[in-house]
Symmetry: C2
Subunit: 405 residues, 2 copies
Amino acid sequence: MKTNVFGYKGHESEGSMQDFIFHISTKILFGEKTDQLAKECSSYGKRLLLVYGGESVKRAGIYDEVLEALKGLEIVEFPGIEPNPRIDSVREGIALAKKEKVDLILALGGGSVIDAAKAIAAGARCEDDPWNIVLGTCSVEEALPLGTILTLAATGSEMDAISVISNMETKEKFGWSSPNVLPKFSLLNPRYTFSVSRKMTAAGVADIMSHAMENYFSLGEENYLADRFAEGLMKTCIHYGPIALEDPKDYSARANLMWAGSWAINGLLSAGKALPWSVHALEHELSAFYDLTHGVGLAILTGPFLRHVLSEQTKAKIAQFGYNVFDLPDSGNEHRDALKAIEALEDFFECELGLPMSLEEVGIGEEDLATMAKKILLQRGAPIMGFAKLDEEDILEIYKKSLKR
Amino acid sequence: MKTNVFGYKGHESEGSMQDFIFHISTKILFGEKTDQLAKECSSYGKRLLLVYGGESVKRAGIYDEVLEALKGLEIVEFPGIEPNPRIDSVREGIALAKKEKVDLILALGGGSVIDAAKAIAAGARCEDDPWNIVLGTCSVEEALPLGTILTLAATGSEMDAISVISNMETKEKFGWSSPNVLPKFSLLNPRYTFSVSRKMTAAGVADIMSHAMENYFSLGEENYLADRFAEGLMKTCIHYGPIALEDPKDYSARANLMWAGSWAINGLLSAGKALPWSVHALEHELSAFYDLTHGVGLAILTGPFLRHVLSEQTKAKIAQFGYNVFDLPDSGNEHRDALKAIEALEDFFECELGLPMSLEEVGIGEEDLATMAKKILLQRGAPIMGFAKLDEEDILEIYKKSLKR
């Protein structure tokens, strides 16, 4: 689960903003800044490990452009990072980084590549097996410096200290974080996302919106500013998601989505809030079992989650989401308005983004649902105490409701 | 003038988000974190120059609390920074910092104290006269590390690289900036603003809103995300400003206003936008002549500025401001809606914040207006090319319209 990495502490006056630390020192180079890459890298050393995924960055010409910009530096290549990046790849990358004595890691790709690069950066400065870093049993005292070149607007990994790694043997997928793996710099060139497919663009938008929603749907704190920021960020996704699908080379759409992705999860929307995330916990279990695209899983689960937790306590916030994000009218009946808000969200995912909206559509049946629900509870050792309390039965019910729309 | 400090560059596709660099590495300690001050300071050295203003921090007990937390460090005190901080005080502070060989500067106060501390931090590592730093004729190659403890939500100086210094001899007030004076850490304890007076609370809210508006009122770029963030930030000011005036110890109000102040001017709302600010240029001239409270001057000038620049080209953005920030209805007539938006803003300043809304109310008559308008143009060497072009006549007309509401 992607957990918040900021040091929360309860505040004495209940219901008010929680104390927090915000410290995101990543230098963002936004736009046509590829020519500045070599200078940024050089300040950390001459020898870098270039971590990337498959052929897509080569087909799009991004790889050539980046290599041209890095002339004069010594580059050790480590391609082949898969979606839902695996601990085996991380182990390989660490061995290579150690053998080649690189000075820094440069990730070229989306969230999966950057998350793997974070684990490699930490593991290269640690003798323990990296799965123990993911499990949190080995603390990250130091790491190689990390730079990123983002090619997909989605996870926000380019501007946060979080990484999510999967272990296919144990069917586990966990988030971990350390301030030592926060990227030193990230190049965000919206043009590098022009070639992202319809499916991945849509899944990315759902991922960004989900990050905003995980922070937004909380109770008992007065984080007015963070909630207004979250609404603005979600409106941006709703406005530009369909435009990017329609015209993948629309610069404004790609630029706004890219920048929104970075701010959805770097602490701006969660500062002062203390609640754990819910939908991500459920989704990570799904994609650990089925290697599902993260954003697709989130889009499927969010509606059923919100309907399940809709109550006297939560209805006002869900209704507010409808008024402020989807501009729905206030009917005077919060419960009804909350249901309309959930429908508007699902309609957006389905009709505007063209995302699958049921587990069955992505080939997932009922067979593993109970096992997954049990596993979430076992791993946490306690119910999820987020927007609403979720125990094993709740989680199973949300999964079951997600089978069909 | 507070100018943007981020490296803008025009983007090839006109009308889209401009390229930029965003790099705000300040570590924010938000809430009851005074106990962490000594640790933060110690990482930069043992000997610090404590820069503060007058008796208000002593009366409020903040000074004692901070000194208690800093036990074990060697503290050289430099009190007496005035509102609209003056270059003479900066010179004194630099001499003291050099003589006492301090390792870091710790600013305890609002924007004036922090702005002065920035100039002292830079000047202590430079042989030139600090007024040349302000004028930009001497570049800031290095600076002493700076930490801040904020006691007033207003200027955002705690999380940006900008400083504004006045020269009473020459009646000049200029902004300057350098990444080297960006605070290393800032303690934002909303409780430390409980004792801020009604007048200064209201002026602070106007200052924060003005920063958001200077970024918001722009043309020709598609910075949808930044504009939605700006609207959310302004809504926060409108919601909590009156609450803080009503109950100065309302934690949520003070916390949200404090956090809003930091984000109004640190680059989040201006990233991707390239236009210079307008109202600040006009106000800095006013407060250089009259030692007026910055936020009060901004509140007086904003309405007349917006009315003056209202045109076919600008009406849509001003009307949008009314719809999205003040929840005004869309009448179908953008010009009329823009006028209503300006009225709503002025009513908020006057009726909700109790701010003076004309130059006459703050004792400023017509006598110096022409001189000031001329001086702004002389100093810039060209009209202000912001939301609308402002030459000397435009500026004088805005000043004249500001005499009475």
